[in-house]
Amino acid sequence: MTMTSRVLLLTFAALLSTPLHSQDAPLKAALPPPTESKQAATAAAPKPHESEGQRIFQQNCSRCHNAPEGFPPSISGTIVRHMRVRASLSQHDEQELLHFLNP
């Protein structure tokens, strides 16, 4: 079997093995579960921390890599500190990102 055939087969197999229904988005999965009730979710605008933190997340983390599919809150501070150094985040950005990951 040629290398071309192997590549095509691999890709085809991957497509077949993936369910047709939509999966949870990686970004959504990495984010904390919503805590608002239905009333709050429909009535209010996003919390300032949530929108600011989400913006920082998208502009600094998601630009290089897919968000991991969920992680425990116990390491959120470690992740944010790692990102502060790697992405040269400001202290403000670090705090907003931490609030976003731990509302």
């Binding site: 991957a14 939509s22 390491i75 470690t78 790692h82 400001s90």
Partner: protein, 353 residues
Amino acid sequence: MARYGSHITLSPALWTRTLAAVLLGSAICATAQNVPLLSGGVGFLTSTNGGSTSYTPTIEPVLAMPLGQHFMVESRADLLESFAPNGGAQPGYDHTHFIGLSYLQGDYIASPHLTIVGGTFLIPFNTYNERLTPLWISNFQATPLIFSLGNMSGGAATGGMVRGSIISRPKYSFDYAAFFSSRVGTEQFTAKRSSGGRTSLYLPKQGLEIGLSYDRSLQGFPASHENFYGAHVWWEPANTAFRLRSEFARGHHAQGYWIEADYRTQAFGGLDSWIGRIEPVFRMQQTFRRDNAASDGLPSVNTQRADFGLDYNLPHNTRILTSYSRQFASNGNRNIWQTGIVYRFLFPTWKGK
């Protein structure tokens, strides 16, 4: 087949002792959200270059351990076993293994705009070395041809670095990094005497980042100092899954550039539909020799290369990477086929308080 040129080799015993010591220190200081984490990627990669196929199972663990409110220790290791056909018409395969550290650094957050880094760290020259070398991030297995320019061949420096955000506003941000590396020739930590830095401007609304890099090798062949200049442009329009990244680097003996684009469509059920998970990738790169004193890792003649990739982002942090590359050079053209599957893991080292 090395994905990038880590020069730090470390014995498993020393790695284990280092890990245990820092974990112990971190356990004392850990707070509710600052439990040390173990992350990284594990993958199985194949590469067929000029008709010869190699197989490489690899793992790249990352350890990050906060110590108190201002310190952190972090490290990334690289463990791989490479199986390649025996040369000289001999049947069968030979194998080699490699264990090394990409970096082992301590970070001290001194002020809102200043972080001091000490130890062995990735050289902040352009973007690829710091951001895109991790196994679970890169779109292609192979590093760009110009990777060694400005990264002192191996990509790691041993010494000190200051970095941080100069200013960060909703409409723009400006950051910097400056380093100095001493010459280290031990088996565990090898680095060249060098210094340099990078600065970049990011415009969030436009999704545009522009940066400039400079560093200077203070040793090596020829026995004189050598300057490296770099520039990078990233364009990632908001609300799309399109990314355009590019770098240019120039040294005393060679120069080159690469441009990489990737895209995931959201038109058929979003990014997590089976179509949205497909990620076509394209990279164009060229290198140019300025003279024949090949002190860098670039090809010995002018080279052009086009990389066509098709990645698939499976659920549960798993990616399939496939690519075909055609390389054109006066000393011979060649085809390069690469495939791989990579899983990214992330978990705390213990349950925490």
